[in-house]
Amino acid sequence: MATTDRKNETSKSAGGPSLSETLLQRSYLLFGISFVVLLVVWEWTVTYFEVDDFIFPAPSGVATALLRGLFFYDVGSGVGGAADFMGLMKTSFYNHISHTLFEAVMGFFMGSIIGLGLGLLFMQSKWVEAIIMPYVVAFQTLPKLAIAPLFIIWFGYEVKSKIFLAGLVAFFPLLVNTMVGLKSAATDQIDLMRSLSASRWQMFWKMQFPNALPFIFAGFEIAVVFSLLGAILGEFVGAGQCMWGGRGQCGLGILLMQMSFSSDTTGTFAILVILSCMGLGMHQVVRFVKKKVLFWAPETDKTMGA
């Protein structure tokens, strides 16, 4: 509400909004225009120079593959005589999407809740922080790609290993952001609470924790995107059987691998479109919750520990 008021004021003070102002204020409009322009230029370039679909498909081809996969349960584009090695292409996009989404969302909740919890715990005692933190940081610096095969060995090919991998990558941003957030309280605020002889508990719940919320939500925003990457990574290393509907193996990651084996670049692009839509969608959900919870916080980017 307050933001709309402010917007109206600025436009009024400038004596009616000009076109450029309108565009900047409605960034989605700007995005829409630039996106259409991009598609047109892309389509035209690919057709004009007769670029092979295998090298770089035209947007129209990608759109067709996408629609076919979404509505006609026929995932492969068939370009270049794509062979269906694993029978994946007979499984609808929705089965693959739901698998990956399930893994990513479960991993997100698991990893971020544990990260948040450990962040809160570490801040209760300097000792715990000093002893455990080095291990956590060392672990974080390991390339996740190297850990992924281990997760398959430990937790199997089924969804469990993907969820844990997604959780692992979602965990760290929450841990770091929670810790930074809890330390962010200004001396003034601490003085205020001390002057009232607040107990540690009151200090924490009435001041420290709310203060950390903007940082924690910045952590969620990163974690939600990471968890999708984690799930895909897990599927790359070894996909599990379809859990509901569909035959054979399920997951966008394994589908992506399959398409690349069969040199189906158009199909690959279609999956990438789906993945980025999923990432954006999950990110938007987090942002929506954040807006509701943090209505009181000045809109600043508190992005840490990415």
Partner: protein
């Protein structure tokens, strides 16, 4: 004089991160009687906030003694209300909730404190803004919110660090009158830091004049002007004389340019 707050031979040194020693206060000696209104003026950096935080039990002293009601000050106390130099409102609480914070923390009965909170909100002209959050308030409104927060638990002692610094001249005069009225009614003991010499004289029974590097008390001036004082008091011969005297003290010390 019956000393309610008593400070003697107070010294304060800060040790900075780079191990430098900043001598913030030296040879601070004064007493404040119960129900007395003492103003403090001095240039920026002369240690006023430091002194206030020591009195509030928020900062340790390097040497010397400080006592309140004959007990040494060695930590925060519930019968002291502090208005900080910045409002320090909790951003996730609205005006009413910020006002009620001390009552909540001290575990006071909400049935008694809630009506009081509404009275205070009315007193400082924030009615209608009870459910507004700090980011929806002007700087002056935030400061007024901070002032009534310090009053909600009805402390005997009020420590105020430039509470009206963020207000425009008109609101400031009004708040001065309000503060005088509150004080006359409640007879709280007030330690009031300000940058404004007229404000210090207008409100104070006495004015502590401080000079910097290191912060020390240059003189304590008694203001013998009868109460209640009104804005026209500022034109009185006595008032003008006292403000001039303080101004001279500050200039002679070479601390104001």
């Amino acid at each position: 004089m019956d000393a309610y707050i008593s400070v003697s031979n107070l010294e304060k040194e800060y040790v900075t991160a780079s191990r430098e020693i900043v001598h913030a206060l030296t040879e601070i000696n004064f007493e404040i009687a119960e129900g007395e209104f003492v103003s403090v003026v001095g240039p920026s950096g002369c240690g006023k906030s430091t002194l206030l935080k020591i009195l509030g039990g928020l900062l340790s002293r390097t040497s010397g003694t400080c006592s309140l009601k004959n007990t040494p000050i060695d930590g925060p106390r519930n019968d002291v209300g502090i208005v900080f130099q910045d409002p320090v409102l909790l951003l996730w609480r609205n005006v009413l909730q910020n006002t009620m914070l001390p009552a909540e923390i001290l575990g006071l009965d909400a049935k008694k404190t809630l009506p009081r909170a509404h009275d205070l909100i009315r007193l400082v002209g924030l009615e209608g803004f009870e459910d507004k959050y700090p980011h929806e308030l002007s700087g002056g409104m935030r400061q007024r919110n901070a002032i009534i927060r310090a009053l909600i638990h009805d402390p005997n002692v009020l420590l105020m660090d430039e509470p009206f610094g963020a207000l425009d001249a008109m609101t400031r005069e009004q708040m001065n009158l309000e503060l005088q009225r509150i004080w006359l009614e409640s007879k709280k003991t007030v330690f009031f830091i300000t940058h404004s010499i007229p404000e210090a004289v207008f409100l104070g029974d006495r004015v502590i004049v401080m000079t910097p590097r290191p912060g020390r008390i240059s003189e304590i001036i008694t203001v013998d002007i009868p109460r209640p004082r009104s804005l026209s008091t500022m034109g009185d011969e006595m008032f003008v004389e006292l403000t001039q005297k303080i101004r001279n003290l500050l200039y002679v010390e070479g601390s104001l340019d």
